[in-house]
Structures are given as structure tokens and as C-alpha cells.
Symmetry: C2
Subunit: 147 residues, 2 copies
Amino acid sequence: MIKNKDLEKELVQKGYKITRQRKIILDTFARLKKRWITAQELYEIVIEKNPKINFSTVYRNLDILTRISILCKIDKGQGVYYYSLNNKDHHHHLICKLCGKTKSIHFCPLEYIDTENFQDFTIVEHKLEIYGYCKECMKDRLVSSGK
Amino acid sequence: MIKNKDLEKELVQKGYKITRQRKIILDTFARLKKRWITAQELYEIVIEKNPKINFSTVYRNLDILTRISILCKIDKGQGVYYYSLNNKDHHHHLICKLCGKTKSIHFCPLEYIDTENFQDFTIVEHKLEIYGYCKECMKDRLVSSGK
DNA sequence: TGCCTAAATGCAAGTATTTGCATTTAATTA
DNA sequence: TAATTAAATGCAAATACTTGCATTTAGGCA
Ligand SMILES: [Mn+2]
Ligand SMILES: [Mn+2]
Ligand SMILES: [Zn+2]
Ligand SMILES: [Zn+2]
């Protein structure tokens, strides 16, 4: 169970203020657990509790929460970003190009890369996303292509 | 030397038409060699030769050329995409967060991933980008932080 | 060469996200 | 508790990119 109180503590500790808007946003993600939502979907949930919250406040909070790793932000290839509570452990994603389903993988390329070859480049971040078809969607593809 | 005639041949072979607009775009990338440019920069070069070419034509062509791997598209983290002629070999990028310089690397995570573990997921694409600081920018950072 | 048609373009409107700036507010301190 | 102030918010405009639809055009064929 993810407690929004813990998330608030983390924010305070990093010097951010706990605003009414931010509380609602954190609370929403805590209740959604690991479900992925878009900025638009978050906005719609959030205005139920505070009808005058602004879209740019939503975006600014998504940005901060992502940068401090409370949220995870992914591009499912649909022209919109998806957000959800981040796992504590470092991971990447498999993303189904058809249904958008995602799966975390604990493989990380940085463990395999020969960083000795990059003395002249200091790595600070990386992004790996793997796209394809999940089992179910692959089945559908085979069927519709006449097996 | 990259010849735009070769690029045109590739397009024809894949069933695309060679329009006046497309010729100018291909020619521009061929002449720029491996320099990275944004859609805006391309548009500005291209209207010199045909002042009535439309921005959406530029975007649509960038999209097609990227999808068929004639161009490579990267996110340097500045809120705009950069495009350049693609290498023929599969590669990924190191991107400097300060000056935007990029370096191709021929390391690919898919060679290290244990695909046996993903029988239930069919991989068709992947995206790896590594961000950090290049030698020069790292030097500047060390200096400005008081060595 | 002229006709035909699918593909490409132009244009205008739409979408997702970001930003500048004036105002409000959370949290610190007196 | 009231005063202070940096951070956060609201609002409106900007940016980067995409899309629908009417029109044009490349390239195949008679
Ligand atoms: Mn994640
Ligand atoms: Mn590349
Ligand atoms: Zn799927
Ligand atoms: Zn640099």
C-alpha cells in the first residue's frame, strides 16, 4: 500500500510545499496504485475535488513529481505521455504498440555498457523503452493475418 | 558522400512519389551530411528554394523519412526533435545535456537482454538514449563549481 | 500525349504541453 | 498571532507538432 502521507513527507524533505492542489494529485496517484494515466485523465479526476485547479498546475506537478522519481513517465507512442507511481527500483518498460499494456523489466543497459570506452562522456541519465506486441495482441495479429 | 539520387531511389522502391518538396528536403539533408537540424531549421532552409512549401509538408516528410530509416530522430531534451541522415548500422546516442552534442554508440541493449524471459512479448522496436556531459562541458562544470 | 487515380500537399484548425507574468499561499519567523 | 517571502498557482498566450479535408500532382497506362 502506497501512502500519500509518505509521498508528502518526501516532498517536504526535498523543499517543496504541500499545497491543496498537490495533496489532491498525490492522493489520486496513491489511490490509483500503479495504473497509468494521462495528464488529461488526472485533470478530470482532480477537478472533481477542486473544480478550480488549473491544467498548468497539473502539468507542473507531473513534471516535478517525475523529476524527483515519485512518478514514472512513459511514451506509449500515442502522442500523449502516461504517468504512474514509480517503483523504487530502477527499471525500464516493455510497451505493447497495440493495447498499450506495459511491463516493467529490471534489465538495465548501463550494466552491460563498457563505460571505460566513454571516459570522455559522463553519463547522468538514460532512457530505454522497448516496443512490441503482448501475448494477447500477438495472438490477434496472427488470427487476423489468416494464421 | 551521400547522394540524394540514392535516397530518391530508395523512396521510389518503397512506393513513395518524388515530389518537388521531397526532392528539396532530401537534397538538404544530403548536403548537411550528418548535421542535426530541427523541423524549424529545415523549413527555413527549404523555403529558400520553394517559398510556398508548407510546414505540415515538412513534418509529414520528416515523419516518413524517419519511419523508413532514412533519417534519425532524437530528443536532445530541449522540447524539440532533431533530425539527421541515419547511419546504415544500428546504433544509439550519447547526448550532452548542456551543449547538445551527440555521439553514436554501437552498443545495443537487445544483444544483452535475455529474450527467453519474454516469450510472451514480441519485440519490434526499441529506443535507448543516454544523457550526460561531454568532455568539454564536464570541464566547464568542474571549473564553475570551484574545481 | 492526355487521362486517371492514389499519394502528397496546402491550409486551417486541433492537440498536448510549456511558459511569462501577475497574484496567491504555505511555511518560516518574529 | 501577524508579517514576510519564496514557491506555487491561475490565466492567457506561445510552442511544437498533428490532423481532416479539399485541391493538386506524380507517375502509370491507354
Ligand atoms: Mn517505470
Ligand atoms: Mn542515430
Ligand atoms: Zn497488447
Ligand atoms: Zn557538451
